[in-house]
């Protein structure tokens, strides 16, 4: 495969890259319908193929009285994770760490960890703590098999053990980072490491604060602040000029507002207060901070569709873009391999048949109700409704960005976007 270039903002006629203009009109109709029905305020959608942007459209509003633009800046939240994974894999390629290294080699607080095992109701004490069978390794953090949790999933996958661990997190001041705490990421990670794990490392797939730990690991291993490392080694080389951990003042007008939607036409711009729902705390206003201490590898980055396209194209190209190589082809192959989580399924955004690699979910087979691409397609999303999908076989990238809460409603829309993208292939 010839490395594709994406140096400018230009789009090509879809037919030039084997896509159908006519069929891509279905994407217009899809997004316009959601905007007209006031299910979302607006969105930016891109479909790129063979390194060329073939569809790139902004619809609806970015904020009250402000149309959505192609360069609108979004809170990409968990789409930060793939960037953090890339930073770790760069250090891996530099020989600074091995994926099999115990995390405690770099962050000593991870030594002698315990796993919380709930005891039957009526026991003298609600749980016991058992030693880990093996230490948490860097690969566990990349693949979410460490036994570290997110608090907000306590509302989704509730069980006594998870609740007990989440209660300990809360008491120790651990947050998901979506309401940024006033501390440095290392402070949080060192406390988290001394709290019990939810499961034995390697014995569960559970989406959690792993990328946040990885962000701190980048600091420890590189000796640089995490944001500085990413800016120097990823954002700048890829010319992701609109990607930031904290937004520059002059770009504030380009930041999209977050909207609360009941999915039935009641659409309200979120106010300054944090959005609380059970154990989930989201603070859209965090994105307006011009500086801050907290650098969350799982949630911090603000970016545009075009910038993220450049990042995704780098991965699709096997680690390089426009003559700049960030990773080797073999490392990208390792990141997108489907056997990192063994028999577990990465069932969070997807149904069965999706595995988790080293930073995103990967389609292992095609036995799904939604045909969003080929085997090997890799994807992830963000909690304010952003999603990317890379189909290596078709050399196709699809990116959707909106800023709508709550999160759960968007699966249908995202799936439909991916269906429109896939069904526009015409060669």
């Amino acid at each position: 495969m010839t490395p594709a270039s994406a140096a400018d903002y230009k789009t090509v006629k879809p037919e030039k890259v084997g896509l159908s203009s006519e069929r891509l009109k279905n994407m217009d109709r899809l997004i316009d319908g959601y905007v007209e029905r006031k299910q979302i305020a607006g969105a930016v959608v891109m479909v790129a193929r063979k390194g060329k942007v073939a569809y790139f459209k902004a619809s609806g509003l970015a904020d009250v009285g402000k149309p959505m633009q192609r360069d609108t800046i979004f809170r990409i939240v968990s789409m930060t994770k793939s960037i953090t994974s890339t930073a770790i894999m760069m250090l891996y390629e530099q020989g600074k760490l091995l994926l099999s290294d115990p995390v405690s080699k770099y962050i000593p607080e991870f030594r002698n960890q315990k796993v919380l095992v709930p005891l039957p109701e009526g026991s003298a004490f609600p749980y016991k703590l058992v030693p880990v069978k093996r230490e948490v390794q860097i690969r566990d953090l990349l693949a979410h098999t460490s036994g570290i949790l997110y608090l907000f999933l306590n509302d989704v996958y509730s069980n006594p053990g998870r609740k007990m661990v989440v209660d300990l997190y809360k008491e120790a001041g651990i947050t998901d980072g979506f309401c940024r705490p006033d501390e440095e990421i290392g402070d949080m990670v060192k406390r988290l490491a001394r709290l019990p794990l939810y499961a034995q490392p390697g014995e569960v797939w559970d989406y959690g604060l792993n990328s946040d730990v990885l962000g701190y690991l980048v600091e420890v291993v590189s000796g640089m602040k995490f944001d500085a490392f990413v800016e120097r080694n990823i954002f700048n080389p890829l010319k992701m000029h609109d990607s930031h951990f904290y937004i520059p003042k002059e770009k504030l007008p380009r930041l999209a507002a977050v909207w609360k939607s009941d999915w039935h036409g009641d659409l309200q711009r979120a106010d300054e207060k944090p959005i609380m729902a059970g154990d989930l705390c989201l603070n859209p206003s965090d994105a307006e901070a011009l500086s801050g201490k907290y650098l969350a590898g799982g949630a911090n980055v603000l970016s545009t569709v075009y910038d993220y396209f450049r990042f995704a194209q780098m991965l699709l190209n096997g680690g390089q873009l426009d003559g700049v190589r960030l990773l080797s082809r073999k490392t990208v192959e390792l990141m997108t391999a489907t056997n990192h989580i063994g028999a577990h399924e990465a069932e969070f955004l997807h149904s069965k048949g999706w595995k988790f690699g080293l930073g995103f979910a990967i389609q292992q087979d095609r036995e799904h109700p939604v045909d969003s691409g080929d085997v090997g397609t890799f994807e992830w999303a963000g909690i304010y409704s952003t999603r990317f999908s890379v189909d290596p076989k078709e050399e196709k990238i699809t990116i959707f960005m909106s800023q709508t809460n709550p999160f759960g409603h968007h699966f249908e829309l995202w799936d439909k976007v991916l269906v429109q993208s896939a069904s526009a292939i015409a060669d």
């Binding site: 000593p108 030594r111 002698n112 004490f125 703590l129 300990l168 008491e171 001041g173 501390e183 709290l195």
Partner: protein
């Protein structure tokens, strides 16, 4: 900071005079990040007295560690972010000992425990000056009504509750942040902890957390040995003797001076390890 040295001497008297059980409070300690020892002493992070963030783990950690060594007790101190983890190790896993203050144990639980005082602790009430530019008078119970009080778990709080204050629990740093946000009106904590935490986490707020004239009760920081541990009783006795000797020969005072002394060296020992390049 001289006060801490005075309390070390007071602790000597306490260690000799107090019987094997008393009321206390508690966090837990372990510096054993590199070798899991057979005997564990658990404590809650209690900066700057017990914390892995400063040189030698803080003054109380250092005193305990040297006393354990002199008593020929092979035990390691491990710190935890939460008090209830300390209680877990003491009561569920029969750890050799835990360290802390504001301990709350039932009568039955106390029977299995041997309290050895390490140090007296002076606490003060603090408020956030921008919220109360003219000061906060806590001397009269009538002033407490409707106020929000931040307490440590295990702290005696009935006085405040009876006076109509709403009591909230949390870690000291969390409570300081809540003071700043206006979610709390006052808290009670050792001045050394407040000074260290403000310097560590919010140096821009230095001088804004003001201690009141109202006096809080003096507290005692204990090491609590566990009779259920096979070596618990013997270890407690040996430790007590070693600690008394350290007070008599001036070792404890020297440790206190090392950490809290007014000289530049003294300040150096309370610096965060991460700040040493």
């Amino acid at each position: 900071m001289q006060r801490f040295a005075e309390f070390i001497f007071a602790a000597a008297a306490l260690a000799i005079l107090l019987p094997g059980s008393a009321q206390a409070t508690g966090p837990r300690v372990t510096t054993a990040l590199f070798s899991p020892d057979k005997n564990e002493v658990h404590a809650v992070d209690f900066p700057p007295f017990v914390t892995e963030e400063v040189v030698d783990g803080g003054p109380i950690s250092e005193i305990v560690r040297i006393a354990l060594k002199r008593a020929k007790l092979d035990a390691v101190i491990t710190t935890h972010p939460l008090k209830r983890m300390v209680r877990y190790y003491l009561l569920q896993e029969d750890a050799l000992a835990v360290m802390g203050w504001h301990f709350q144990f039932s009568k039955e639980q106390r029977k299995q425990l041997i309290f050895v005082p390490i140090s007296g602790l002076s606490e003060k009430f603090f408020y956030y000056k921008p919220a109360y530019p003219n000061g906060l008078n806590l001397n009269e119970a009538g002033n407490l009504k409707g106020k929000h009080y931040g307490a440590h778990k295990g702290e005696e709080k009935s006085y405040f509750a009876k006076a109509g204050a709403e009591v909230h629990f949390g870690r000291t740093i969390t409570m300081l942040k809540k003071l700043r946000q206006g979610d709390l009106d006052f808290i009670c904590a050792p001045p050394q902890s407040v000074e260290w935490l403000v310097d560590r986490y919010m140096p821009e707020e230095k001088g804004r957390f003001i201690s009141t004239e109202a006096h809080a009760e003096h507290q005692v920081y204990f090491i609590v040995f566990n009779r259920k541990h096979p070596s618990g009783e013997v270890a407690a006795e040996k430790f007590k003797q070693a600690l008394s000797a350290m007070v008599s020969d001036g070792t404890s005072a020297a440790i206190s001076k090392k950490h809290f002394g007014d000289s530049d060296n003294g300040k150096m020992f309370l610096r965060r390890l991460e700040t040493f390049k």
